[in-house]
Structure formats: C-alpha cells, structure tokens
C-alpha cells in the first residue's frame, strides 16, 4: 500500500451558498488576540502553575541521576534519607500543581468558550431583519450548533493542553541543556524527521478531519430525516431508498475515515521514530561522551530520563494542534457574523403621524432583477388595505417593504414622513409589525413567550392579552398556567394555539400598524374561522395591510390593491373593483362560486 488518496466526494463542501459572511484570517487573528487579552491573567496563571508542576516532575530523574553517580563511585556515601525526603517534597508539590494545572486549564477554556458563544448570540440577535429574511436562519443555526460544538472541543482541551505542552517541552529541553549541555545537542538529531513529517501531515489533516466529521454528521442526518418523515417514507415506499442513501453516506464517511487513518499511519511512525531517535541518541551518543569523560554517569541517567519524558508534551502538542486548526475554520464562521453591517444609517428621525406611504418604490432581491416596479401606495391611518394577486406578483415583498424589513432600491417607504429604512428595527417595531405564518413558539414558559413583546408586563396584562385573542380559556385550563413549559421538549401547542400566542404578543407589543402575510392560511378552515375572531380583536383600531390568499379577507377591506407582475394594477373598494370587471372581479367570481 503506497497510500490512500483523499476521496473525491467532500461532504464538508457547502451544498448551498453560504448566505452569511465568513471572517478573513486577519479578522480572526485580531479576534483571538482580543480574547487572549481579555483572559490574560488566567493565561499567565496557567503557564506559571504549569511551570512549577513540570519543574517538580523533573526532580525525580535528577535525584536518581545523582544517586546513580554516587552508587557508581561506590566509595562515596549515599544520602538516601535526604534524597528521598526531597523526592517526597517534589512529589507533593507536583501533585498539588498538576491538580491546579488541570483545573486552571479548564477554567480558562470554559471562560473563553462562554465568551465566544454568548458573544455570537449577542451579534446574531442584533442582525437587521432584512438580512435574516434574505439569508434565512439555516446558516446561522448551523453556526450556533455545529461550529460552537467544534470550538467547544478546541477551547475545552486544545488551548489549555497546547499551553501546557509547549511549556512542558520547553522546560524539559531547558533542563536537559542545564544538566548536560552536550546531551541537548543529541536531541537535535530528531528535529528534521519531526518537522518534515509534521509538515506533510498538517498540510492535509485539518481539511480531511473536517470532511470526515461532515461525513459522519451526514450519516446521522439521513437517519434523523427518515425518522422525522416516517409517514411520508412509508406512504411513498421510500424505505429501500433511505437504506441505500444511508449506505452511500456510510461509504463516503468511511472513505474519509480511511484517508485520515492513512494520514495517521504516516504521522505515528514519525512521532515514534522521533522519540526513539531522541532517546537512543541521548543514550548511545551520551554513553560515548561518558566513556570519553565529557559527561558523568549521573548526567547521562538524568538526561536519558528527561529525553524519555519528552514523549508526553510532544504527543500532547501533536494531538491537539490539528484540533486547533479545525477550530479556526469554525471561529472564522462565528466571527464572520460580526462583519454584517447593521443596515442603513440611523438618522434618529421619529415619525410624525401614522401614515404609511410607498412612493415610486423599486425593489429586487437580485441585481438587475426588480420584483417591484414603481409601486406607490398610501395607507390611511386606521384603514384596512388588502393586497391580492397571484403567487409571485410581489405582494409579500411589498408587505415586507411596508413593514420596514427591506429598504427599497429607489423611491421611499415612509411612516409619518420618516423613512423606515433609516430606522433601527427596535424603533420600527414600536410602530409596525409584520405578522406571517411563522408563529414560532420559543422553548420556555408561556410567560416568556408573551413577555418578549413587552418585557415589563405584569401577569394581569398578559392575561388580558390572552383574553383579547380568546386564548385565556385553554391557558387557564393548563395545570401550570403561564408557567407551563412549551416549545420543543415542552407541551406541544396546536398550530391554532401557537397562532393565538403570536396574536397575544401583538396585543402586548401594540404597534399601530400591522402587515398581515397569509397570517391564517396554513390553518385548517375551522381553526381559521375561530382565529379570525381573535384576529379581528387584535386588528381593531389599527391600520392593517393584509396580504390575502383567500378573498373573503379582501372583501371587508376599505381598499383593495391588486398586484400583478410587480405593479399595482387595480385599486379601490370591493364593490368598485367588482363593478369594474377587471382581474379582481374575475378572481372573486372564481372563488365565490
């Protein structure tokens, strides 16, 4: 076997475009420097404690060397008692300090890790809504799960262990140089082998381990999907295909395992040969030195034992070095989120009045591919506007512009004369809220799920909000009431209940303008009807822009805007539009027969 080529299929290659930026190496380095500065004291303490532990561990070989010296020159008296007490003291010191090294190492690693993950979430929740809408949350999710996990390994073990390993190796080499300078030269014999071997290995290893880990994750992912889609798999008789897919993924993963095993099959002998070279050359060349009278027997013994001890720190460094390289990639993905701007400049304007206007708005998701062309629409405060039209006409996009999530490419969307795109999300949402199908129920208590809309709310306010959306009944029926744990792992709410919670949040947040995007369309007709009553309460007294898939929503609107191909083709009340006999009239008839 000459070697194993890396497999052609790389499971770590991104399957879809990375939607959020990845930090440049320079940014990552600056971030690491910042982290180290923040934890400088803990780091210095770790190195110091470690130095003491390593020094104490060298006392044993040193004393043994002295004794061998004395015993060899059997004439002299051996101070056995004194030597053994010194040995015992050194052992006690070593024990205490090894304990401290392990503990300090963990404390440091855990603090850095906690900083990293909290910092990342702080950045994530500060992202502009437009970025989230466009990029989706998938990329962000994989960063907070997979990348944080990979970093956890590195921070928990690699950083402290590497710090320990380097200090340890340096001290041993230093001690060797001090006790027997000529022997220190023997160590150099092994350096070329180690350097060449490691360069070869580390050039290939990090990418290979990343692919291997991704390959393994893909095996588990296919199983998770089969479990999740059990009904679909059975109905469509996909069982055999799922098994075949799993076998294919196992093949891909094990091919990477085989490749990394080959990499280690090169690295291990390199390390072993290095050790043997160090140990052997110290022993044999050193033996010749003793015979020549350049060093003493005691120095040789001590030196040989030091050389043997080098095995550990070198092994430690090699073991954790590639973990650190893998972590670097993950870190770049985490730090990348910091590079996203916070959107348009905040000019601090406060809206005067409540009128929402779109003036000659053009907008597109892709360069040179506008979805909206010169759309103008004025929404009178307190009025109901329905946006209707076929899929892909730009209704939802217009809704998002009116809710301040996207900034128009040209033209302006204003609220009370102030440009929405120039306001931070925190200010926009005091006035406008977008209500869509996404009624996420957060892991936590029902109370937390409501409080997010008004952090300082009392329980009384929460109950009246629930009452307003007709949800107080079933919440009261729950044994733990507002303290009931919901979300994944807790009580599973029905879609209708989740939607009611979302509506109750709106009551609490109390924005004067709402943009509804298919807010109830995913629900069963029966539940929808029930919810419409809740919704009606919420809408009372507010300006409403409703994107309607079902025309009965449009029927009651003050103004109906028909969107077609990114333009507003018809505008008027229900009766006016039906009388006009255009697109809306045709739609109405097709629905209402």
């Amino acid at each position: 076997m000459i070697g194993v080529a890396p497999p052609a299929h790389d499971p770590a290659a991104p399957e879809s475009a990375t939607t959020l930026p990845v930090a440049a190496p320079a940014t990552v380095r600056a971030y690491v420097r910042m982290l180290l500065r923040r934890h400088r004291r803990a780091f210095v303490l770790l190195v110091a404690v470690n130095a003491v532990a390593v020094t104490a561990s060298m006392v044993g070989p040193y004393l043994l060397g002295g004794m061998v010296e004395d015993l060899a020159a059997s004439a002299r008296e051996v101070h056995l008692g004194r030597t053994l007490s010194l040995f015992a003291v050194a052992l006690a010191v070593q024990t205490v300090f090894v304990h401290m090294v392990r503990l300090r190492g963990s404390v440091l690693g855990e603090e850095i890790l906690a900083d990293l993950r909290e910092d990342f979430l702080v950045r994530s929740v500060g992202l502009p809504p437009g970025v989230l809408e466009r990029a989706g949350t998938g990329d962000l999710l994989s960063r907070i799960t997979t990348d944080i996990d990979r970093l956890a390994n590195a921070m928990r073990e690699a950083v402290p262990q590497l710090a320990i390993g380097f200090v340890w190796a340096a001290l041993l080499l230093g001690a060797l140089t001090v006790t027997a300078p000529p022997l220190a030269l023997c160590v150099l014999v092994a350096v070329p082998v180690l350097v060449i071997g490691c360069r070869w290995y580390f050039r290939r290893a990090p990418a290979a381990y990343r692919s291997e880990a991704a390959g393994y994750a893909a095996v588990a992912a296919s199983l998770t999907e089969t479990v999740d889609a059990g009904r679909t798999v059975e109905a469509h008789r996909l069982g055999e295909r799922r098994v075949a897919l799993s076998d294919r993924r196992i093949t891909s993963w094990t091919q990477w395992e085989r490749y990394t095993l080959w990499l280690r099959s090169v690295l291990f002998p390199v390390i072993n040969v290095t050790h043997s070279l160090v140990f052997g050359s110290v022993l044999i060349i050193g033996g010749v030195f003793v015979l020549r009278g350049w060093v003493s027997v005691g120095q040789l013994t001590t030196g040989a034992l030091f050389a043997q001890m080098l095995v550990e720190p070198v092994g430690l460094i090699l073991r954790w070095y590639d973990e650190l390289q893998i972590a670097q990639v993950s870190l770049a993905r985490l730090v990348g989120v910091r590079e996203i701007g916070t959107g348009g400049a905040d000019d601090g304007t406060e809206p005067v009045g409540r009128e929402v206007r779109a003036d000659e708005v053009r907008f597109g998701y892709l360069e040179g591919n506008d979805v909206l062309h010169d759309v103008s629409l004025a929404v009178r405060p307190g009025s109901r506007v329905a946006l209707v039209g076929p899929s892909g006409a730009g209704k939802s996009t217009l809704g998002r512009l009116l809710a301040g999530i996207y900034a128009p490419r040209s033209g302006a969307v204003t609220l009370g004369g102030a440009e929405l795109a120039r306001m931070p999300a925190e200010r926009v949402r005091r006035h406008v809220a977008l209500v869509n199908q996404e009624h996420h129920v957060f892991v936590g208590s029902l109370r937390d799920n409501l409080l997010l809309a008004r952090t300082a709310a009392e329980d009384g306010e929460l109950w009246s909000a629930l009452g307003a959306v007709d949800a107080d009944g079933w919440v009261r029926a729950l044994e733990a009431g507002l303290d009931t744990e919901v979300g994944s792992g807790g009580l599973a709410l029905t879609p209708a209940q989740a939607q009611q919670i979302a509506l109750a949040r709106l009551v609490l947040a109390d924005p004067h303008t709402l943009v509804l995007d298919e807010a109830t369309s995913l629900l069963d007709p029966r539940a929808a009807r029930h919810l419409e009553r809740s919704l009606a309460t919420v809408l009372e007294g507010r300006t409403v822009v409703a994107i309607a898939h079902r025309l009965h929503t449009a029927h009651d609107a003050d103004v109906i805007a028909v969107a077609e191909d990114g333009r507003i083709s018809e505008l008027g009340s229900h009766d006016e539009l039906v009388a006009a006999g255009g697109t809306y009239a045709a739609l109405w008839r097709s629905w209402h027969r």
Partner: protein, 607 residues
C-alpha cells in the same frame, strides 16, 4: 473486515436482549479484528516496556566502561524503536478499524430499522431517542469496542512485566507486583462521580445549545416583536451554568490527575529507597535499578488504559442499552402485516367503519367537519389501522381488506398523502424520484400541481449556474420554500407516483384561490381514470369532484355533487361556506350564489 469494504452487504441480526448482549454480539462479529488489534497492542506495549532494559544496559555499560555493551544497548534501542513504531501504528489501525466497522454496522442497522418501522416508529419511541442513538451512542459504543483490544494487550503486558520482575528481581519485583493492582483500584472509585459530572455538563450544554438554536430559529419573530434582551439573558444564564458544570466536572478530573501523579510517585520513592539499599548490599546492579525505575514509569501507561476501559464501559453501557431498545422495535402486528394474497386488488375503495365509498376511476371529495377526524379517516383509507387492536375492520379495495395484504402491496395500491407531507432533502430530481408507475412524467406532475414559480425560484438558486431546477437542492423539510410551494411540490411527488388510489388530505390549504382552481383542474385531468379521494372544504376543489361525501361524527352522512349538497344540506353548507350561523342565511342570498355558480360555469364554458 476492512474499512474499504464497508458498508456491509448485510449488517446481520443483532442480539437486542440488552445493552451488554448487543456489545457482545458486536464483539463476536469482529473476533478476528479484535485478536489482530490485541496482538499488535502486545507488540507495541512489550516494546515500550523493554525500553528501560536498554536504558539499564546502557547505564551499566557506562558504569562498567564497556563499549561493546553500550553498542549492544544501541542495537537493542534501534530494534525496540522499530517495534514500538510498528506496534503503535498497527494497533491504532486495527483498533480504529474495529470501531469504524462496529459504528458502521450499528448505523446500517438503525437505517434499516427506521425504514422498516416507517410511520409506526414515532408511535413506539420518541424520535429524539432514535436520533440520540445515531448521533451520540454509536460513538460511545465504538469507543468501547476500540478500547477493548487496547485493554486486553495492556492487561497482558502488565502481567508479563510484573511476572518478569518477580522472577528476575524478586525483592523489588514483589513490591511492584503488589502495588500495581492497588494503583489501578485507587482511581476506580473516582470514576463514577467524574462521569456523572461529565454527563451533567453535557446535559446542561445540550440545553444551552437548544436555547441558542431555538432563539436563532425564532429570530425573525424576535426582531419583529422584540424581547432580544430577555432571551439573551436567559441564554447567558444557561451558558454560565454550562461553564460552572464544566468546571465542577474538571475539578473531579483534576483530582484524578493528581492521584495519578501521587500514587505512582510514592511507588517510585519506595522503589528507589528500597533499591538503593539493595544496590549497596550488592544484590542489584545500578543499571538494574534504573531499569526498574523506568519500568515503573512505564506501568503508568497501561494504568491509563485500565481507566479508559472503565470509563468507556460506563459510558457505552447506557448507550448500548438504548441502541438495543431501538433495534428491538417491531412493527405492530396489525397494520398491513398480513400474509394474504400478494396480487394487487382493484376496484372501489370502501371503508366499512365510516361507510365512505370511493368508486374506482372517479374523483371523490370528502368534507369532514373535524380536521383531526379527517386525518384519521384518511389514514384508515390507506389501511393504516388506528392504534390499538380489536377495532373496526380495515378499508377494503375491490373487496379485499388492505391490512390483510403485505405492507408493500397495500402501500402500492393506495397512497395516502397526509396533511403535513415531508419533503426529503436532496435535489428536485431526487425528490421526485420515488417508486412510481412510470406513467406520469415529472414535468406533467409539476405542471398539474402548478409548480412553475417553484421551478423558477429553484433555477435561480441552482448551484452551477446551469439554471436547471432539477439539480437544485431543496433544504431539509423544504425550509427554503414557502408553505404553498412546499405543498405543491409534495402534491407533484404524489402525482408522479401515480398510484391506483390516491388519497390527499387538504392538499391545497396553503395555496391561493387562483392557483387552487388551476390545481383542481390539473389534478382532475391527470388522474383521469384513476381513483382519487381529496379531503378538502374548498369550494374550488369540491366543485370539480365527481361526487362529494359529507362526513360527520365519523360517518358518511350525505353523498352528492357539491351543488346538490350545497342546496339541500344546511350542515354541509355551514362547513363549506364560511357562515357560522347556518339558519340566519336568507334563502335569497343562497339562490343568488347558486345563480352565480351557474353563471360562472357558463362563462367558463364559453371561454
């Protein structure tokens, strides 16, 4: 078994009686691999153990000023160095091969088991449990399998070293042979609390990760409504708890590390103290003392292996138990487990419990007041019996009970698309590559389900600028698509399958009226001559059905065309139109509506 030969063509039938029995079964299936790893482990450890002998010979040679003996020590060093390198590499290769083959085998077993259980899996066990086996437990089982051979060779080498010491250096050897078991045992009591704390830490970390990913998943809601600080605070608290738990766990491991330094250190002091006396008495050479010192430091190495196996076992036992539990699941005896005739029945579909009948080759719509009941009824039509035995007989196809048929035959005959069909991740081509009759091309199905805008969106996102939507990946559960788009793709998939009987539960609930009307036409045209049942309450769909069955309280109470039912059945009208107060509707309005229906039909016909 070599890694390159994976996956197994047949992963075998595991012994799922208990966790340890599963481990034993895995071990029995790789006896040769374990033996090989153990043999290389002995080569490796014996060579490492022999290094101090070379050291002793060298020191003694120098003391005796013998160049020849020093050369001998050098030769021995070279030989041992080679053996250490060879043994270490081969031990690693063989042991890792053992873990990978075992892990692959368990993953393959899991894949087969989940595919076999299908819809019945989550009824028997939480989905999370199965996923936990695949993501975490397999690795722990693999770890034990890998550590086993290392443990065997460490045990063998340790015994050999102790015996050798006792034989050649009875005085020093006996002390060491007595002390070694004590060293091994001393750390063992510390391991259970350490692993417990590690588990606690993992649990806390899992919770923090869940909080974080949950916050990110709902981030658009948070950014739209507020509450970021609330959730950040909550996450910070969880994160700090993880940190504290990790440090608590580290305290235990630090203690273990300290004990591992202290006890061998004490042994070394004893050996040196006792040994120096022996040297002075002339009973032991200086070189031999150095050898024994070196051997004691060597023994620390197998000691760690002993701890590793103790930990690996304590971690892998619950994992193996969970894996065994999942792998021992069986399909419940009822649903479609029959041994009846394998030939495909044909004819009308009839459910004796509800009295619902769907004539062969026609489009039947079902209106059901209660959505949950609709779901159960749809299930029954596919022969999925409700949970619990001794219930009503299964649905009949052409007079043959569906649950009396082999599962494969029953599912081939009737395809039930439930209310929440899952889009499996993969390219669009892969998504539509399902077992099918072959009569319906993907293009026709996509066109009938009105997927034009989905194709455009996917073409824009195609990975290689080819603009081929069929090669674009659909993310897990179709999260990159809107609800309506997902629904239409799922419908297209069912249409491609082209089963004899297709049962659809609310296939267009997230689709706008305009598109829904076109889907209804497309569906009708494409399913011409095939049996189709649609659960819906949308007038657009109902009006295009050959017949409509109205189900209330689990029984078919009325049958007719949409218009006839609308006219004659107030209860039906209440469910289908959005009027909540049935009686309050003046007859005139209804007449107007019916007139409107007639008009629109005329318009359509003239168009």
């Amino acid at each position: 078994m070599q890694i390159r030969d994976l996956p197994y063509t047949d992963p075998g039938r595991p012994d799922t009686g208990s966790g340890p029995r599963l481990l034993l079964w895995l071990g029995r299936n790789q006896l040769a691999g374990q033996a090989k790893a153990m043999a290389w482990g002995v080569v490796h450890m014996a060579a490492v153990a022999a290094l101090p002998v070379a050291l002793g010979i060298a020191v003694q040679a120098v003391v005796d000023r013998s160049g020849a003996r020093l050369a001998l020590a050098g030769g021995l060093m070279v030989l041992l160095g080679g053996l250490v390198a060879l043994g270490d590499t081969m031990l690693h290769r063989t042991a890792v091969t053992n873990w990978i083959t075992a892990a692959a085998r368990v993953q393959q077993l899991l894949a087969r088991k989940t595919a076999e259980l299908g819809a019945t899996l989550t009824r028997q066990v939480a989905a999370g449990e199965v996923v936990a086996v695949s993501t975490g437990d397999v690795e722990k089982i693999g770890w034990f399998v890998e550590a086993l051979s290392r443990f065997g060779s460490a045990l063998f080498t340790t015994l050999a070293v102790c015996v050798t010491l006792v034989v050649y250096q009875p005085a020093l050897g006996t002390v060491i042979a007595l002390a070694v078991p004590a060293l091994v045992l001393a750390v063992l009591p510390l391991l259970p609390p350490a692993t417990r704390r590690a588990d606690e830490q993992r649990e806390k970390a899992g919770y923090a990760t869940e909080l974080a990913s949950d916050t990110v998943a709902g981030l658009r809601v948070l950014r739209g409504i507020g509450g970021e600080e609330l959730f950040l605070d909550r996450y910070r608290r969880a994160s700090q708890e993880v940190r504290r738990a990790a440090v608590r766990s580290a305290r235990m491991w630090a203690l273990i590390a300290a004990v591992q330094v202290l006890l061998p250190g004490l042994l070394l002091i004893a050996v040196v103290g006792y040994g120096v006396g022996l040297v002075e008495d002339g009973r032991v050479d200086v070189g031999e003392l150095v050898t024994v010192y070196g051997l004691v430091t060597f023994l620390l190495f197998p000691l760690r292996v002993f701890e590793e196996i103790a930990m690996a076992y304590s971690f892998s036992r619950p994992s193996a138990a969970r894996a065994a539990r999942v792998l021992s699941l069986r399909r419940t005896a009822r649903a479609g487990e029959g041994e009846g005739p394998a030939q495909m029945p044909a004819g009308d579909l009839y459910d004796p419990e509800s009295g619902l009948a769907a004539p062969a080759g026609r489009l039947t719509a079902v209106v059901c007041g209660d959505p949950d009941a609709a779901g159960r009824l749809a299930d029954r039509l596919g022969g999925h019996a409700a949970a619990g035995a001794g219930e009503a007989p299964s649905a009949l196809l052409g007079g043959v009970a569906l649950d009396g048929l082999p599962l494969e035959t029953a599912r081939t005959a009737v395809l039930v698309q439930d209310k929440d069909p899952v889009l499996l991740s993969g390219t669009l081509a892969e998504l539509l590559d399902v077992p099918a009759s072959g009569a319906v091309p993907a293009e026709a199905a996509l066109a009938a389900a009105q997927c034009g805008d989905v194709l455009t969106a996917l073409a824009q996102a195609s990975p290689d600028a080819s603009g081929d939507p069929m090669r674009t990946r659909i993310t897990e559960r179709g999260r990159s698509l809107s609800g309506g788009q997902r629904q239409r793709l799922a419908l297209a998939r069912s249409l491609v399958t082209d089963p004899q009987v297709l049962v659809l539960d609310e296939p267009t609930s997230a689709v706008d009226s305009h598109t829904e009307a076109r889907i209804a036409d497309g569906l009708r045209a494409l399913r011409q001559g095939r049996t189709t049942v649609v659960f819906s309450s949308s007038p657009l769909l109902l009006d295009r059905a050959d017949r409509v069955v109205f189900v209330q309280e689990g029984r078919a109470v009325a049958v007719g065309t949409h218009r006839a039912l609308l006219r004659d059945d107030p209860a039906y009208r209440a469910v289908v139109t959005r009027e909540t107060d049935t009686g309050a509707r003046p007859a005139g309005e209804l007449d107007a509506e019916l007139t409107e229906l007639g008009e629109s039909e005329q318009i359509e016909e003239s168009a």
